[in-house]
């Protein structure tokens, strides 16, 4: 059948001519020549009316195949040419990728609040909730209820700012919050941490401040032991410093706890080998703790024959200093941007 042969030839010629076309203009001309109204292919469609009833479907199918083949080849060719043109144009566009980016202001929490949040989060997971109380405090809450009566030698342990108002001081520790919390919650069991600012009559030096934060903790209940104190605080240290860190508890003295203990954490800088951070001891003093003194439990409304408890207190500034090797505590309230921007 001649027409079918002609169609084969039309396809072959068309594809060959397309391969030779190399720009949009040539493609347009090719389209007119091979797919246009006057093309051989269209002539073949037109000639179908002269064919026999038997030939017509065969030629028709073949003519459509050829049309599709040419159109799809054209599309491919067009896309290839467009890609080539784009690539040619992009090759001239080069950034200096090493130039600095456009700076965006990065907001930051004060480093001490960053540490406080870590402390809150760790204790929250152990069931300790945050309880806050006032900073300008009565002498009774700061001392007397905490088993530190007037003229007691233990009062020497705190250098106190006294106000001009009788019996009113700036709290020297967050411990008054223990009494506030116990009086509010008694007879429930208690697990709270008590963060906040405290004040000491102390010269401001690289190592000491007259205003600093403390985070105190208090657990009270019918079945709380010194072993629980050790376990809870060791868990805390492992989460704050590293999972392997070792702790040790040294006997110490605080009037509001008995027995009292200082917790040392194995120096996380030298891993206990001794370095300048731990002053060669391998240990860092992190917090004071102890079993709540019966006098304090009583002041809070609890019966020390029925319940026991532990309490602890730590300095978030000191912990921040250790974590980041900050050597001067005065950086914190100085708020020099060159310091703050590092956290």
């Amino acid at each position: 059948m001649d027409t079918l042969k002609q169609l084969d030839q039309i396809e072959k010629d068309g594809l060959a001519a397309l391969a030779a076309a190399s720009d949009e203009e040539a493609l347009a001309a090719w389209r007119t020549a091979h797919l246009g109204r006057k093309s051989g292919l269209m002539a073949a469609f037109d000639g179908m009316k002269d064919l026999t009833k038997e030939e017509r479907p065969l030629v028709g199918r073949r003519a459509n195949e050829v049309k599709q083949a040419l159109e799809s080849a054209l599309e491919k060719k067009q896309s290839a040419l467009r890609m080539a043109a784009l690539e040619a144009s992009l090759s001239g566009e080069h950034l200096d990728v090493s130039l600095p980016g456009r700076a965006q202001p990065l907001g930051r929490l004060h480093p001490v609040n960053q540490t406080l949040r870590r402390i809150y989060a760790i204790f929250a997971e152990m069931g300790f909730q945050v309880y806050r109380s006032r900073e300008v405090e009565s002498d009774d809450y700061n001392f007397t209820f905490l088993n530190i009566p007037a003229h007691h030698p233990a009062r020497d342990m705190w250098d106190t700012f006294h106000t001009d108002r009788e019996g009113v001081i700036l709290r020297t520790h967050t411990s008054p919050g223990q009494i506030h919390a116990m009086r509010e919650y008694c007879p429930e069991t208690i697990r709270v941490i008590l963060p906040g600012m405290v004040y000491r009559y102390e010269q401001v030096t690289t190592r000491s401040e007259m205003q600093f934060n403390q985070v105190e903790g208090l657990a009270v209940g019918p079945n709380i032991t010194f072993g629980d104190l050790k376990g809870t605080l060791t868990d805390f240290a492992r989460r704050l410093f590293n999972p392997q860190v070792r702790t040790r508890f040294r006997a110490s003295h605080f009037p509001f706890t008995e027995p009292s203990a200082e917790m040392d954490v194995e120096c996380f800088v030298c891993m206990g080998d001794g370095c300048s951070v731990c002053k060669g001891t391998g240990w860092l003093e992190i917090l004071g703790s102890g079993m709540v003194h019966p006098t304090v439990l009583r002041a809070g409304g609890y019966d020390p024959e029925q319940v026991s408890g532990f309490a602890f207190g730590m300095g978030p500034e000191r912990i921040t200093m250790l974590l980041h090797r900050i050597t001067d505590i005065r950086h914190f309230w100085r708020n020099d941007v060159r310091f703050l921007e590092q956290f």
Binding site: Q104, Y131, E135, H151, P153, F161, T163, M210, T281
Partner: protein, 845 residues
């Protein structure tokens, strides 16, 4: 307190215990060893120690006991001598200028020879002639024509004390040739004594702790004295006026003493313990105090007699009379308070009890008869007196922390015997002992269950008793119950049975070892769980501001009114409510609790003004306002925000930077309030004196003011050392913000139907606030008007004078259908109509 090991060994055997182990156990048991000064003993190996290491080690092969057999002249120098010395191996000629060898010069061979500390060539020790403690190494040298390679040492050169007047003489029986370190090497423990263990502020106390910790025997001090004189009774009397303040007074008498320096070993011990030797009598009082913890006072008995008109004196203890004054040993005259206890006689007072003796009756070089006092005083009363006298002494340190009255006769007995040994004389028989208020040593009961409940360890009753017995408690076990009577050297065990129990539990834990108590996790009932809404809100605000690129600061809450007044322009009177002020400020510019966060912020802006052109800070903290309900102030949580400088951070591409202005700050405030889901917020012109009068707004929720924001008043700006750019400040009452914030907010449905967008511009009077225009558009548009956004403010001649154009992008949208053109046109018409009628606006074509 400083405790030489050699002295501790008087009471407990330390054989087989290394210094490091000793220090570790004491530290863990609450006697923290802060420093160890080595005086000859080997330094601990390595660099890692729990304590600070000071001092030197005496090389065993280089510093030895030697004997000086003859002291001869130096051929070319009168002030030097040449010693013929034998060091156990051979003879050496040693050159020295020690003045205490001069008496032996030219006396020929000495019998017995003088025992000395001899340092061979190459030894490292302290330079006796240098200021402070400088190390030096002995080298061969030619001194005035004589070769010198070794030396005989002074105490200073060996690190024993600062004594460098002459060389150290050793006892005659010191074995020649043995290393000096073996003979008298020592180390001094510097122990931090907390108030609850003041009973251990003496050598016996430290030894008792060591004995308990290492389960060794404690040797008891010898408190007996050899008395050959006439009975003390009748030679003086004691009269106590207030037994509450002076529970016990014991005294004895020694006659015919010879005042002179104490034996060398006593002086050395005192110096190692940090006490300056004076003379044998005074040294005894100090020695006994350091030794067993009872402060003593020595009176010149003859002076007391003289004051009593030659009759046997009566020592009277009483409180001071009104206006009474007293001159103490240090020749300072003190006015006295009426609660202060004095030791007096019929002629008048002579000592401040427990604190310092008086000048008139003190022991002098001429004293021959000594009355020795060992008394007991009420520690709270002593503290009150110390409080106003601002004095401190070794005696008052102990008395103000509590001394057991049983120590008084022991101290006097031991003191009299040591005086007899060191100063000669005859001790009168017996003591005068007034003890009107005997101290009852409490007996406390506790059980194995108490130990388990409180400490979390299982100990049998007999084991509990055994631990307490190691500390000197008299214990009895009856079934599960241990009864423990406190020993008569401590006053820290409470007579309250519950507190006393806690006191014992602490002792059990200390001796059992905190290390040996297992770590457990809390198994107790979890309390009701509660949020801290205020803190959570505060943290939410922090996050919203940090997300906007602000830096948080934390400032001093102590300030001064002068500093705070600078936040106001000149001539504006500050709020007259009083500050909470300090009675004892440490710094003249920080004596009042702040009333303003703005002032704190300005201080920090000033500090950073030259460091960065662009600053963006916030602080959340408290201000302290005088309260009407009592002396405690209201502590109010506040937020302050400040921004200043270029809008963008410096950038290599940027053209001329634009400065942050009011609208930048307002954008931050709006984002904050939006983040808190506050609705219906209004910004109205404000009148806060710290702000620019035309560039400030009150932030209102309903009628309640949440805060103020605006540009810092140029006059206030000028009072601070700030850069030229305007400073934008916002202050918020955090409690008001929290009250206005909804506890939760409901979601608005995400629109499913297409919006109709349209821009409308209105020409209005210049004075009309844009907020009013927008509010009216929103109100009129109702729920179909999903958004109104001002996108342009234009002023120009064609609008006319005093007019402005406000262009708004409107979004019409319905939740349930696609709006028709008709609906939109109707609403548009309504909006335009109301704006025309109510605000005199004209639609801009």
């Amino acid at each position: 307190m400083r405790a030489p090991l050699s002295w501790i060994k008087d009471y407990v055997d330390l054989d087989g215990i290394s210094i490091e182990e000793l220090a570790h156990r004491l530290t863990m048991a609450g006697l923290e060893i802060e420093e160890i000064t080595f005086v000859g003993l080997p330094l601990p190996p390595g660099d890692k120690h729990d304590f600070k290491v000071e001092g030197i080690e005496w090389a065993r092969d280089k510093i030895v006991v030697a004997e000086v057999r003859e002291v001869g002249p130096h051929p070319n120098a009168d002030r030097l001598t040449l010693c013929r010395l034998h060091d156990g191996d051979g003879e050496h000629t040693v050159l020295t200028g020690a003045p205490n060898l001069f008496p032996y010069k030219g006396q020929g061979p000495l019998d017995p020879p003088l025992k000395v500390a001899y340092a061979r060539e190459g030894t490292t020790l302290y330079d006796g002639h240098a200021e402070g403690w400088q190390l030096m190494t002995l080298k061969k040298a030619l001194i005035r024509g004589v070769e010198s390679y070794s030396m005989v040492c002074s105490e200073k050169e060996l690190g024993i004390s600062e004594e460098h007047e002459g060389i150290l003489f050793l006892p005659e029986d010191a074995p020649t040739g043995i290393p000096l370190a073996d003979y008298m090497g020592d180390a001094v423990l510097d122990i931090a004594i907390t108030p609850n263990i003041a009973r251990n502020a003496n050598i016996l106390g430290v030894a008792r702790e060591i004995a308990a910790l290492f389960e060794r025997e404690l040797k008891q001090p010898d408190t007996a004295f050899k008395a050959e004189g006439s009975p003390v009774a009748g030679q003086f009397k004691i009269q106590i006026e207030n037994p509450e303040l002076n529970p016990r007074f014991v005294a004895g008498l020694i006659r015919d003493v010879k005042i002179q320096p104490s034996p060398g070993w006593v002086q050395r011990r005192l110096r190692l313990a940090g006490q300056r030797p004076i003379n044998n009598i005074v040294d005894v009082t100090n020695y006994v105090m350091l030794d067993i913890g009872q402060p003593l006072h020595a009176f010149d008995y003859d002076e007391l007699m003289r004051r009593a008109g030659g009759k046997p004196p009566t020592l009277i203890t009483r409180t001071a009379k009104k206006g009474e004054k007293l001159t103490t040993l240090d020749e300072v005259e003190h006015p006295l308070q009426d609660f202060t206890v004095l030791v007096a006689d019929t002629k008048g007072s002579h000592s401040i009890a427990g604190i310092m003796g008086g000048l008139d009756t003190e022991v002098t070089e001429k004293t021959t008869n000594v009355l020795l006092e060992g008394a007991n005083w009420n520690f709270i009363n002593i503290r009150q007196t110390l409080g106003y006298l601002k004095m401190n002494s070794e005696a008052s340190y102990r008395f103000s922390r509590g001394v057991h009255p049983a120590l008084a006769p022991r101290g006097v007995g031991r003191g009299l015997e040591l005086m007899r040994q060191w100063a000669g004389g005859t001790v009168c028989e017996g003591l005068v002992d007034e003890y009107p208020q005997p101290y009852a040593d409490p007996t406390t009961e506790l059980t194995a269950e108490d130990v388990r409940r409180w400490l979390g360890i299982d100990l049998a009753a007999k084991d509990i008793a055994a631990i307490l017995a190691r500390l000197g408690f008299a214990t009895r076990v009856k079934g599960e119950v241990v009864s423990a009577t406190a020993p008569d050297h401590r006053v820290d065990i409470s007579a309250d049975p519950v507190i006393g129990k806690a006191d014992l539990l602490e002792e059990i834990a200390r001796i059992y070892g905190y290390d040996n108590i297992p770590e457990t996790r809390l198994a107790d009932v979890l309390p009701p769980q509660r949020n801290n809404a205020a803190l959570e809100f505060e943290e939410g605000v922090r996050d919203l501001l940090v997300r906007q690129g602000l830096q948080e600061i934390i400032t001093y809450r102590l300030t001064s009114p002068e500093r705070e007044d600078k936040r106001l322009p000149p001539g504006v009177a500050p709020d007259p409510k009083p500050y909470v002020t300090l009675k004892n400020p440490i710094s003249p510019d920080r004596f009042a609790m702040r009333k303003s966060m703005l002032a704190s912020m300005l201080e920090i802006l000033e500090r950073n003004a030259r460091l960065r052109a662009r600053l963006a800070f916030f602080e959340i903290g408290f201000v302290y306002h005088d309260s009407e309900s009592g002396p405690l102030p209201d502590e109010k949580p506040r937020l302050v925000i400040a921004i200043t400088g270029p809008r963008d951070l410096p950038n290599w591409q940027s053209a001329e930077p634009e400065l942050l202005d009011y609208y930048d700050l307002k954008g931050i405030a709006e984002a904050l309030l939006e983040g808190l889901h506050l609705t219906g917020i209004r910004y109205e012109p404000g009148q806060h004196p710290s702000f620019h009068p035309g560039k400030q707004a009150r932030v209102l929720a309903g009628e309640r003011q949440l805060g103020t924001l605006g540009e810092l008043h140029p006059a206030v700006h000028g009072q601070h050392d700030l850069g030229p750019a305007p400073v934008l400040v916002a202050t918020f009452a955090l409690d008001a913000l929290m009250a206005a914030a909804p506890p939760r907010h409901e979601m608005r449905e995400v629109p499913a139907f297409p919006p109709v967008l349209e821009d409308l511009a209105f020409i209005v009077d210049e004075a009309l606030p844009a907020g009013q225009v927008q509010a009216l558009i929103e109100q009129t548009g109702g729920s179909t008007l999903a958004g109104v956004r001002l996108f342009d403010v234009y002023r120009g001649e064609q609008l006319g004078k005093g007019k402005k154009s406000l262009a708004y992008a409107l979004t019409y949208q319905a939740a349930d259908r696609t709006l028709t053109d008709d609906e939109v046109a109707k609403l548009r018409k309504k909006i335009i109509g109301r704006l025309e009628r109510e605000l005199g606006a004209a639609l801009r074509a």
